[in-house]
C-alpha cells in the first residue's frame, strides 16, 4: 500500500500554497509539522480529492486517486481542520449519518459507532445534542467519524486542537493502536503530538517539505545549534531581541536560556541535546508567534 505524491502544486491566484511536492507514504504514522499557513490543510484537501491540484498527481497503489474515485473514498477517513457538524444531531445520530454516507450496513453502523464513542470517551453523552458539546468533545467526535469505515488511509488535520493534555494522551494511544497496516497522516503545529506517535515527520514550510525523516534523525539537523547559558535577569530582554530563544528558566537573580543559533551566541554558552521543539523553533521562529 502506498500513496504517491508527484510534483503536486496548488496555486491560489499567484500564491503557491503547495509548491511542487513529491513524497511516497507507506504504512505508518506521518506527522506533518508546520507553522500556520505552511500549506498543510491544502495538501490534505488535495490528498482527499476535495480540491483539484493545479498540477501534479496523487496515486494510490499506482492508480490516480481521481480515477479510483469512490473506491478510494471507501478506504479514506478524514478529519478536516474546521470540521462541521449538525448542532441538533446527537453524537450517535451524527455517527449513524456519517456511516450511511460511508456505506456501512445499518446494524454494523450502530455497533461500530458505539465502539468508537467508547474509544473517544463519548459513550455517556451519545444521546446529547452536539451543540451542547465542548470544543474537545466535538473534536473527539470528529476523530471517531473519521475512523468509522476503518480507513486504510487516515488523514487528520490538527486532530489535537482543542484537546486537553489527558485527551491528547488518549488520542495518541488510539492512533497508535489503530495505525497498524495503515497510512496515518496527521498535521499539527504542536511538536509533542508527533514526537511520541509519528514514525516519520514531514516538515513543511511555504508549501514545500523542507525535511523528512524519523524524529531522531531529523533532530540531528539542529545538532550543535542549540545552546544553553546562564545570564543575569536584566540581560534577558536585549538577548530576546537578538536571538531565537526557546525555553527560559529563572533561578534567583539569573536565567537559564535555551538559544537556537548557528554559532556560539555567548561566551559561557554550552551545546545542549536538541529536541523536536528546537527543530521547530529553528525553522519556524521567523513566522509564528504562538508556539505550544
Amino acid at each position: 500500500m502506498e500513496l504517491r505524491i508527484e510534483n503536486l502544486t496548488k496555486q491560489y491566484g499567484s500564491f503557491l500554497a503547495v509548491n511542487d511536492l513529491s513524497a511516497v507514504l507507506t504504512c505508518g504514522v506521518y506527522g506533518l509539522l508546520g507553522a500556520n499557513g505552511a500549506g498543510k490543510t491544502t495538501l490534505m484537501r488535495l490528498l482527499c480529492d476535495i480540491q483539484l491540484p493545479t498540477t501534479g498527481t496523487i496515486s494510490y497503489d499506482g492508480q490516480d486517486i481521481r480515477e479510483y474515485g469512490d473506491r478510494y473514498r471507501n478506504v479514506l477517513g478524514y478529519l478536516p481542520q474546521d470540521f462541521g457538524y449538525y448542532p441538533d444531531f446527537t453524537a450517535m445520530k451524527f455517527l449513524l449519518y456519517m456511516s450511511a454516507i460511508k456505506g456501512l450496513s445499518k446494524g454494523y453502523a450502530r455497533q461500530r459507532s458505539l465502539e468508537l464513542l467508547d474509544e473517544v470517551g463519548l459513550l455517556q453523552v451519545r444521546d446529547k445534542k452536539i451543540k451542547t458539546f465542548s470544543g474537545g468533545m466535538k473534536q473527539r467526535l470528529g476523530i471517531a467519524q473519521a475512523m468509522l469505515n476503518d480507513p486504510k488511509i487516515l488523514i487528520l488535520d490538527e486532530p489535537t486542537a482543542g484537546l486537553d493534555p489527558k485527551e491528547r494522551v488518549r488520542f495518541r494511544n488510539l492512533i497508535s493502536s489503530f495505525s497498524r497496516n495503515k497510512i496515518v497522516l496527521l498535521s499539527t503545529h504542536i511538536v509533542s503530538d508527533v514526537e511520541y506517535i509519528a514514525g516519520d515527520i514531514l516538515v513543511m514550510k511555504k508549501g514545500k517539505f523542507i525535511h523528512e525523516g524519523k524524529p531522531d534523525e531529523i533532530i540531528h539537523t539542529v545538532d550543535g545549534k542549540v545552546w544553553e547559558c546562564r545570564v543575569a535577569n536584566g540581560e534577558v530582554p536585549s538577548l530576546e531581541m537578538k536571538y531565537n530563544i526557546g525555553n527560559m528558566r529563572t533561578e534567583g537573580e539569573t536565567t537559564i536560556l535555551r538559544i537556537i543559533c548557528e554559532t556560539k551566541p555567548l561566551e559561557n554558552a554550552v551545546n545542549a541535546a536538541p529536541n523536536l521543539e528546537d527543530l521547530y523553533l529553528y525553522y519556524f521562529s521567523d513566522e509564528e508567534e504562538h508556539i505550544i
Binding site: R45, C48, D49, I50, Q51, R71, R73, I101, G103, Q145
Partner: protein, 376 residues
C-alpha cells in the same frame, strides 16, 4: 438509500425557520379558505317586505345555488334579460336602506346577476344595457355555459395564492440543501465518503422533490376536499369566462372549470418542480446558504415584476411560463390555443416539456455542482 433520504428530509424540515414558515402557510391557507371558500364570500340579496335582505355565509350557498340552477345552461340573450328582470330590486327598497338606487349595479344580488353586471349587461341603475351575448363575447358566444361556479372559481383563486406562498417556503427549505453543507463545513465530510458524491447527493435531490410534491399534493387535496364539502362539484361544466372574479375573463377559447382546474394543476405542479430544480442548482453552486437563499428568492419572485408585455407576443408567452408567472395562471390563460398540424392545445401544456427538461437539467447540474465542489 432509503435511510439517506430519511436523514435528508429530517435535516431539511427540522429547522425553526422552516417550522415558522410552515405555520405561516397553514395560517395563510386558513385565512384564504375562510374568506373565499369556507363558507366563502357568497351573499344573496333579496327583496322582502319592501326592503333588501342580505343572506351571507353558509346559508347563502344553497340559496345562491338554487337561483343558479334555474339558469344553468347556455348563455342566451333571453336568459340575460330574464335574470335582470327577475332579480331587480325596487328603487324604493334600496332607498328604504338609505342606498342610492342609481348605483344598483355595484351591489350584490346573486351570482347570476353579478356575472352579468361584470360583463356590462347591466347599467349602473340596474336596467338592461341592451348588449347582446354575441356583441359581448364575439366568436365565443355560442357554447358559453353559465351556472353556479363559485366553488371552483374561489378554490382556484385560493390555490393560486397558496402556491405562490408554498413557493416561498420551498425556497426556504431547499436553498440550504447543498449550500448549508458548505456554510457549516460538512461538505468535506460528505464528499470524502464513498456514497457522498452519488447516493447522498441523489438522496438530497430526491428529498427536495419529495417535499415539493408532498406540499403541492397536500395543498390541492385540502382545497379540493373543502370545496367539495362546501359547494359540491356543481358548475364544473360552466365556462370559465363566466366567473365573478375575472381570473379567466380573457381566455380566448372555450374552457370549463374542470378543464381549467386540470390545466391549473399542470401549471402549479410544473411551476413547483421547475422552481425546485432551479433552487437545487443555485444551492449547489452558491458559496453559502445565505447567498443561496437570497439568489433563489430573487430568481423566484423577480419574473412577477418584469414587463413581459413589452416583448413581442411570441416571446411574451415564455415570460409567463416561468414558475411564478405560470403559477399565477391569469396571464398564461390569456394566450390562444397553439396549433400544431391538426392539433390545437392550450399553451399551459407547454409547461410539461419545460418541466421535464428543467428537471433533468437541474438534477444533472446540481449533482455535478455539489460533487465537484471545491472545499475551502
Amino acid at each position: 438509500m432509503k435511510q439517506l433520504i430519511i436523514f435528508e428530509v429530517k435535516k431539511m424540515l427540522r429547522k425553526p425557520l422552516v417550522w415558522a414558515s410552515l405555520i405561516g402557510l397553514v395560517l395563510f391557507l386558513a385565512i384564504m379558505e375562510s374568506s373565499w371558500v369556507v363558507p366563502g364570500y357568497t351573499s344573496v340579496v333579496t327583496e322582502k317586505d319592501g326592503r333588501p335582505v342580505t343572506t351571507e355565509g353558509f346559508e347563502a350557498i344553497p340559496l345562491d345555488q338554487e337561483i343558479c340552477f334555474l339558469y344553468h345552461g347556455p348563455l342566451t340573450d333571453e336568459k340575460v334579460r330574464s335574470v335582470i328582470e327577475a332579480y331587480d330590486i325596487s328603487d324604493a327598497a334600496w332607498e328604504a336602506n338609505k342606498i342610492d338606487p342609481a348605483r344598483e349595479a355595484h351591489y350584490t344580488h346573486n351570482l347570476m346577476y353579478s356575472i352579468l353586471s361584470t360583463w356590462g349587461f347591466i347599467d349602473l341603475d340596474g336596467s338592461y344595457s341592451g348588449s347582446t351575448v354575441e356583441e359581448t363575447f364575439g366568436d365565443l358566444a355560442p357554447g358559453l355555459t353559465i351556472g353556479y361556479s363559485t366553488g371552483w372559481e374561489c378554490t382556484i383563486y385560493t390555490l393560486v395564492y397558496s402556491f405562490l406562498t408554498l413557493g416561498c417556503i420551498i425556497v426556504i427549505i431547499v436553498a440550504p440543501v447543498f449550500s448549508e453543507e458548505y456554510t457549516i463545513h460538512m461538505d468535506a465530510l460528505i464528499l470524502t465518503g464513498i456514497h457522498g458524491r452519488k447516493k447522498c447527493t441523489l438522496a438530497k435531490i430526491i428529498s427536495a422533490y419529495l417535499i415539493t410534491i408532498a406540499g403541492s399534493v397536500l395543498l390541492i387535496a385540502i382545497s379540493t376536499l373543502l370545496m367539495l364539502a362546501v359547494h359540491g362539484s356543481v358548475g364544473w361544466d360552466c365556462s370559465v369566462q363566466l366567473g365573478e372574479l375575472g381570473i379567466f375573463d380573457h381566455t380566448p377559447f372555450h374552457l370549463n372549470w374542470l378543464q381549467a382546474y386540470g390545466l391549473a394543476c399542470i401549471a402549479w405542479f410544473g411551476g413547483m418542480l421547475v422552481l425546485t430544480s432551479i433552487i437545487l442548482v443555485v444551492s449547489a453552486l452558491a458559496k453559502s446558504s445565505f447567498s443561496a437563499l437570497v439568489i433563489a428568492f430573487v430568481i423566484y419572485i423577480l419574473p412577477m415584476f418584469l414587463p413581459w408585455n413589452l416583448l413581442p407576443e411570441s416571446l411574451e408567452l415564455w415570460g409567463y411560463l416561468l414558475p411564478v408567472t405560470q403559477m399565477q395562471l391569469m396571464k398564461l390563460f390569456r394566450f390562444d390555443l397553439i396549433t400544431l398540424g391538426s392539433m390545437a392545445f392550450s399553451p399551459v401544456y407547454l409547461a410539461i416539456p419545460i418541466t421535464v427538461i428543467v428537471l433533468i437539467a437541474g438534477i444533472i447540474w446540481a449533482k455535478k455542482g455539489f460533487s465537484q465542489h471545491q472545499v475551502v
